[in-house]
Amino acid sequence: MAEKNKYLIFLGCAIPYRVSAFEISARKILQKLGVELVEMQEFNCCGLPLDPVSHKMMLILAARNLALAEQKGLNILTLCPGCAGTLKKVNKILKEDKALREDINSHLKEAGLEFKGTIDAKHIMQALIEDVGLEKIKNAVVKPLTMLKVAEHNGCHVLRPKEYIGFDDPEDPKTLKILIEATGATCLDYMDETECCGAPSVGISDKVALQLARDKLNHVKVVGAQALVTICPFCHIMYDTNELRIEKMFNETYGIPILHYTQLLGLAMGISPEELAFNELRVDASKILKEAMLEAKDN
């Protein structure tokens, strides 16, 4: 069994490409919570972007990453639900299907690797709730954000397909809400909470994707959320990068900042907004930061 609270960090493609605030804030909070991250120079893309063109190539690439982690004897921690979903799914499939495993291993052999199925992959949200534990997180909160009312948005791949992921309830997910409330903030319910952000349809039909994002922002606005909290780089890009565009295109006004959960928790843990890379957000978050800071002073 691999060690608890020590993982190989798997960044994937989207985060180093354009969502560094997620990485920066995640590293800060994990360090404070006593989670050790080990870098792995050999990792590559998880394989997911290859699935639509070649399922087999996806399987090989994901298995390659898993086999590398097995050599280190450590579980993988990802920030991207797409990476977590892919690695988990392939791990399960290859553990259960001997013929497929042998086939994939015949390809990995070319690079001197073998998939054995000895480690797990987890998304940061799952690691926080299962390995770090709610008590430890609550104890680390020194500046509770009690005045803030926010809404949450789970990434699809952290929950679905249920059969392969086996975490939380995709129809009524609770983990992110619980983690948000641990910061002292209130997490509001809203319509169609589990609806997909639409990011994967960008580039095929921007119109469909932006309408989905608009739908979400409308529902979040109606309940009076001061921010939308995400745990996925793609969902974050979808809302943060496109909010202004959507406002113009559909003649709406939102002004709703999109925060990475790790930034929210970091604030509550007393880490400064600068250290949590709040300046990287496109939608101005200064208003809620001011409130959060004021409140901390009052406490």
Partner: protein, 174 residues
């Protein structure tokens, strides 16, 4: 030919073996279980805003054997792979996976939308789906973030070299 006539299905279009081909592939096994209830389409976020994308229709056309219509259709690439359909299908059809199987077959014929082709080509070249700009790499240093995994494109190539598909992506990507 009028639009209506184009839509009409002709017996000559039907390939009765198509559904068996799909059902043999990983993820397509449960295709025949679909009884056309429509849950997948009514819960699909993309179908909500698209006038043409309907997962139930794709499943039915596949069962019927309308190979060319399905594989040449642009709408096949609209699916956001959110897996809502897969989780809610009362017949346990892995709808999103059937769509992925169909995309793989379309890709084999060379029908790959630009975004997907670019990402695949980039992975083969650098190990990442996107080329990480030098500016970002420099910025990591100034933020004292650990260096990015360098990837190992050569090792990736070795593992993928026997999947015939690789040549296809590289050739078309040029």
């Amino acid at each position: 030919m009028t639009e209506k006539e184009k839509e009409r299905i002709k017996a000559s279009e039907i390939d009765p073996k198509f559904k068996y081909e799909i059902a043999k592939m990983h993820g397509g096994e449960k295709l025949m279980r679909c009884f056309q209830c429509g849950t997948c389409t009514s819960d699909c976020p993309v179908a909500r805003f698209s006038e043409t994308y309907r997962p139930r229709q794709i499943i039915r056309m596949t069962q019927l054997g309308l190979r060319d219509r399905v594989l040449n259709s642009d709408t096949l690439w609209l699916c956001a792979a959110c897996f809502t359909c897969t989780d809610r299908c009362p017949q346990d059809v892995e709808v999103a996976s059937v769509i992925r199987v169909l995309r793989n077959l379309a890709a084999e014929k060379g029908c790959i939308p630009q975004v997907f082709r670019e990402q695949a080509a980039s992975i083969l070249e650098s190990g990442y789906a996107y080329k990480i700009p030098d500016l970002r790499i420099k910025k990591r240093e100034s933020l004292r973030l650990p260096p990015l995994p360098r990837g190992n494109p050569e090792s990736i190539r070795k593992t993928l070299c026997n999947v015939g598909f690789v040549k296809h992506i590289e050739k078309k990507g040029e």
